[in-house]
Amino acid sequence: MTTRGRADQYQCSVTRPPDVDQFWEQVQAELDGIPLDPEMTPVPMRSTDEVEVFEIHYTSLDNVRIAGWYCRPRESYIAGPYPGLSIVPGYVSEPTLPKSWAKMGYAAIGVAPRGKLRSNSQFNPGYPGLLINRIIDRNTYSYRGFYADALRAIDFLVGLDEVDSSRVGVHGSSQGGALTIVSAALRPDIVTCGAAGAPYLTVFMDSAELTHSYPYEEMNEYFRLYPERKEQARRELAYFDCLNLAAWVKAPMLIYAGLCDDVCPPETAFALKEALPGEVTFHAYERCGHDAGNYWEMRNVEAFLAKHLQPANADLHAQMTVG
């Protein structure tokens, strides 16, 4: 077995651009000029006695139409208002219907940011491909819009009458872990708490050097072919690095990671933990990889979210979160 230095002592190379605040203020200003135009279409086939399911759409940056699933308890099962919960997806997985969370009492949204199925008619970089799509330009980089799509899911939630906007959480693993951080950082006055597994999009350049697993391997492949673009990409990616957004997070956060994660190196989870200014609960699992110990951690996630969001049926369990 190979050896590796202590993950908690890793010195990452990320620097914070002095104008990162202005960059995201500009993105927000653009979003402010685009009506959300929310739509909800009932999906009776996937609804149950306890949970109503809707297919949703809304408009995001560049006027891209974004899809998602929205699940809420039936009034006859649990009376509102409900805590809101945004379940954010991993890199290759399609968003699943958050029915199990709705059964617990959450008004839950499963968002499909641009490029995911049903949100890919206007933007479709393919997989592999999303991570490196316009990686050398922060103004057209894929994650500029992708992050905005996750933020607009929060806006969608708090615009619903049945959602208690003082109780809004975010949860996901891998890319979902990153989008949890992004949501909490860029909607700091709305997001009440966040649970992020194996956070991706954190310390991008070091991560790629620490692994040969996808998605970061996309960067290794790209820089192998175009080495002259590496430093420019490093500068641009800094605007999207969760490490550089973490300072804006106000909500309590749960972070969990596998200490042998070959996909999102655990060194980056430790760096993120240190960068978060508020209350952080951190769990790391020996011998676990990108699963981030979810076999054990899922119950902690449920309890953490329940503590802060107070759903009606906190004793029920959610479908296992995958990245």
Partner: protein, 330 residues
């Protein structure tokens, strides 16, 4: 058989669902279908009559110092265009080959860097998945129940044919050592081994098609929940769904599998313990080994990699590493 132009999302405006399948009568095990052999023989006959005409195109971005990566386009059942990621190690072949059985997911990426170094690899894009989504783009959820009322209309008749077709292209590639072909992934690999003899080893990291109708009846988790959703809307199809899924259940083809098989087992899970797996394991004709999952992702990965590597005669490539003690964190 699947026809062109099927809707991508076909379940809209279905009648309102009532009740929960979990509390309703479960789908009964349908037993071995009477026409099982005829069903699969027809697939083989139709494939045999239709040339694959594979078209290999180098993928410069994914190609590296260890392996050349290609995308392959080929023709499958119903003249459907499918695709695959395919890689060949640099150096003198032939090489052992590693096929990843199709998973229930939209996105298919090339095999891992560590696999590409050691094996000819194939990860296949079957109909509906990205890369093979013209004319049919699968919906998730929705794909799993598309045409499920009959084995002849079920979309996975075509998907399984796509798996067989892609495998044939790999098997016939000159870089492949035909004596050392392994399959990893779900239990679709057992169906592949049953229909295409000569595969040396099959690793089933998780079952999917084995007793799927029964498994769905005991869970509300997707993708199994797709079946429950379907049955809530189509309660009269309960028996038909059970019959259709039986055509794809590997237990009824296990007697044709002569490859060495490793199956992951979890005694704490009712759908992965000895009692659950008995109907499958008892019929396999080759060596059978169990792997008892630990749920420590990297421990499990390394153990599974060690087994398939040994079966195919290559060095393992563990991904775990030893770090200094920094816990306890749980």
């Amino acid at each position: 058989m699947m026809s062109e132009g099927q809707p991508t999302i076909f379940e809209e405006n279905e009648p309102a669902a009532t009740g929960s399948l979990v509390s309703d009568a479960p789908v009964a095990a349908a037993g071995r279908p009477e026409h099982l052999d005829a069903f699969w023989d027809a697939i083989d006959d139709e494939l045999a009559a239709l040339p694959a005409n594979p078209e290999f195109t180098v993928a410069p971005l994914q190609t590296n110092e260890h392996a050349t990566v290609y995308t392959v386009r080929m023709t499958s059942l119903d003249r459907y265009p499918i695709a695959a990621w395919f890689s060949v190690p640099k150096g003198e072949g032939p090489f052992p080959a590693l096929v990843t059985a199709p998973a229930y997911a939209s996105v298919v990426v090339p095999a891992h860097y560590d696999q590409r170094r050691r094996f000819v690899t194939m990860t296949m894009m079957t109909r509906g998945q990205r890369g093979a989504d013209r004319p049919y783009a699968a919906a998730y959820p929705g794909h799993l129940t598309n045409g499920i009322g009959s084995p002849d209309t079920y979309v996975f008749r075509g998907v399984m044919a796509d798996m067989l077709r892609a495998f044939e292209v790999l098997r016939d590639h000159p870089a492949v050592d035909r004596e050392r072909i392994g399959v990893v992934g779900t239990d679709a690999g057992l169906l592949l081994a049953a229909r295409r003899p000569g595969i040396r080893a099959v690793q089933v990291a998780s079952t999917f098609w084995y007793r799927l109708a029964e498994m769905a009846a005991g869970t509300e988790a997707y993708p199994c929940e797709e079946i429950n959703d379907y049955l809530r809307a189509h309660p009269d199809d309960r028996d038909a769904v059970g019959r259709t899924l039986a055509f794809l259940d590997p237990q009824y083809q296990a007697g044709r599998v002569t490859a060495s098989v490793q199956i992951s087992r979890d005694q704490e899970r009712g759908t992965a313990n000895d009692a659950w797996l008995a109907g499958l394991v008892g019929s396999l004709k080759g060596d059978v080994a169990y792997y008892d999952v630990t749920h420590e992702g990297q421990t499990d990965h390394d153990a599974l990699d060690a087994w398939i590597s040994a079966q195919l005669g290559v060095e393992p490539a563990p991904r775990s590493w030893q770090a200094e003690e920094i816990g306890p964190w749980r």
